[in-house]
Symmetry: C2
Subunit: 338 residues, 2 copies
């Protein structure tokens, strides 16, 4: 395991010079020395030891991407990724981090775990968090003294950098799309509305659209539950008993929407003829079901990319103050609304 000392010896220079070459501080090294050192580095197949560097300079090239267990499935099952959203996001984050020379540490975090110890443990350079709750920021994510980028997190405090989607506008768009297509009895399916998050925002958009078109809203039009495929099925069986109350449903998540579609079909309810369904996310699985899911699409790849770019800007001190990036949504017209 070649070290900087060994390189220095062979090249007949000091370790400092080697270090300067490695770190491309070329003003400090004459070009002839530089070439000599680079040759030895090449020959010896030298790879810098980042543990040593991080010990000394208190930074690594590690970025943690953390998903709170609270927003995923049963933490004892290993099935959180049933929603392809997660896979697509981590994929994008890894891709863009790698491009910028960083390493990705991925982790689910529990209530009882404080991410700050992980950050200290590894001198982690920065953290990206998906869908944290406000209260978690003062527990799980407290005491982190490196750049922290929040994805899909809504909090009042202006001290965090956030990447979100036009959730509220998307909710409005979905609702107006249904109204414009002649539907008048619009229910909504969401996860817990009480907690500040994407579900709440999308719900807000739904409420807004209804109100601005002079439509009534009643509590009974809202179905809340844990956002899984099974929950969609369950909602379908509840709707089956109240058929004539609805002619369309806005579901805040594609996965749940597909569950709803399949559940409705099982109940003998035709989609979209009896009840239309519109989703939110734009996952590719919306292509798979029948009828194919009409949905509000967000760009998950862009979400990961923007998060990484913002983080890197923070790390390079190219960004002042707090940034708030909101990504646009588009509508994907398929067959579950007609």
């Amino acid at each position: 395991m070649a070290s900087i000392t060994e390189i220095a010896k062979r090249a007949n220079v000091s370790t400092m010079t080697v270090s300067n070459v490695i770190n491309k501080k070329y003003q400090k090294v004459s070009s002839s020395t530089r070439e000599r050192v680079e040759k030895v580095i090449e020959e010896m197949n030298y790879v810098p030891n980042l543990s040593a560097r991080s010990l000394k300079s208190n930074n690594s090239k590690i970025i943690v991407f953390a998903i709170p267990q609270t927003i995923v499935d049963d933490p004892n099952k290993d099935s959180a990724f049933t929603n392809p959203f997660y896979g697509e996001l981590i994929n994008s984050i890894e891709f863009h981090l790698r491009e910028k020379g960083y390493y990705l540490m991925f982790r689910f975090v529990n209530d009882d775990e404080r991410l700050s110890s992980m950050v200290k443990t590894w001198s982690v350079d920065g953290v990206i968090v998906l869908g944290a709750l406000e209260k978690e920021l003062s527990t799980i994510f407290a005491d982190i003294h490196v750049p922290l980028i929040l994805i899909d997190t809504y909090i009042d405090s202006p001290e965090y950098d956030c990447i979100t989607t036009e959730d509220e506008a998307g909710g409005r768009m979905a609702t107006e799309y249904l109204l414009d297509h002649g539907y008048r009895k619009l229910g909504m399916v969401a996860s817990s509305i009480g907690e500040t998050g994407v579900a709440q925002k999308r719900y807000q958009g739904y409420r807004d659209a209804l109100a601005s078109r002079g439509m009534r809203f009643e509590e009974s039009m809202l179905f809340e539950g844990f956002p899984s495929y099974e929950f969609g099925i369950e909602v379908a069986s509840r709707i089956a008993k109240r058929k004539d109350e609805f002619d369309a449903m806005f579901v805040y998540s594609d996965l749940v929407a597909i569950g709803l579609i399949n559940g409705l079909k099982n109940q003998g309810i035709r989609v979209p003829q009896d009840i239309a369904v519109i989703g939110f996310d734009g996952l590719f699985i919306g292509e798979l079901c029948e009828p194919r899911l009409t949905t509000i699409k967000q760009d998950i790849g862009a979400k990961g990319q923007k998060a990484v770019e913002l983080l890197v800007r923070k790390l390079n001190r190219d960004s002042e103050g707090v940034e708030n990036i909101v990504l646009p949504v588009t509508i994907v017209e398929r067959d579950s609304v007609v």
Copy 2:
């Protein structure tokens, strides 16, 4: 940032004693000292610096999970996780690593990248690789001197620890299931058969089953291509022109199988009445399409778990020689075969 030195000072002991307490070498510390030190550690909110530890002892608690770019989608698109298989697997690996006190570094690796430098860079403790090709083991994965666990990799050399699925038996099972249900004109869809991997094994099982039942096989019954949803669609359009040559298809991957089903439907071919389809993997997305996909199910969660367990056994030197774990498959009877 509390260090071991500071703890030592406050507890009036040497750093060695603190180190021994932290590392639970309790035979070396009297219980009274131990308690005192533990109290100070608690008070000061001490977190060990693993960079320092890894610098000294040449191990970290980091495990790399690497996926070669060769087996995923276009490396320039960030869409490799379209197949939910990846998400489920990484999910399981993270879960079980965390349980054992390890940190997960996740990375796609390119042809031109040698994973060994990453291992050296971080004093990585072990590596888990998904679906490597034989040639990659001598390039991308060469020169790794820590435990290396291969998932879904078939190589002749007996020097690697592997976790695989009963791919060949599964291929046989799928084929026999179709035969037992009266189908006689069985095509197969796979990725490249030429490369040693799961596709080849599943194909082998298909060939075996045909042979042992006295059925003929011809090259034209096999469709090879890049394993995506779109490939399934494409195969469907090719099959449409040769309708009467097939009454059932065995598709080596659920994602492709669903593409095939939807493609066939678009071509006006009924599934399963005109052509039955059986998949392989047992992904939840097989529930979403219509008809629901009959498939050979592997246990992806178990795959991740076994990989982690085997790796940890290697790290603890609880495993001698090379281990080869083959996980069973089961058939999930749904509606795409009748």
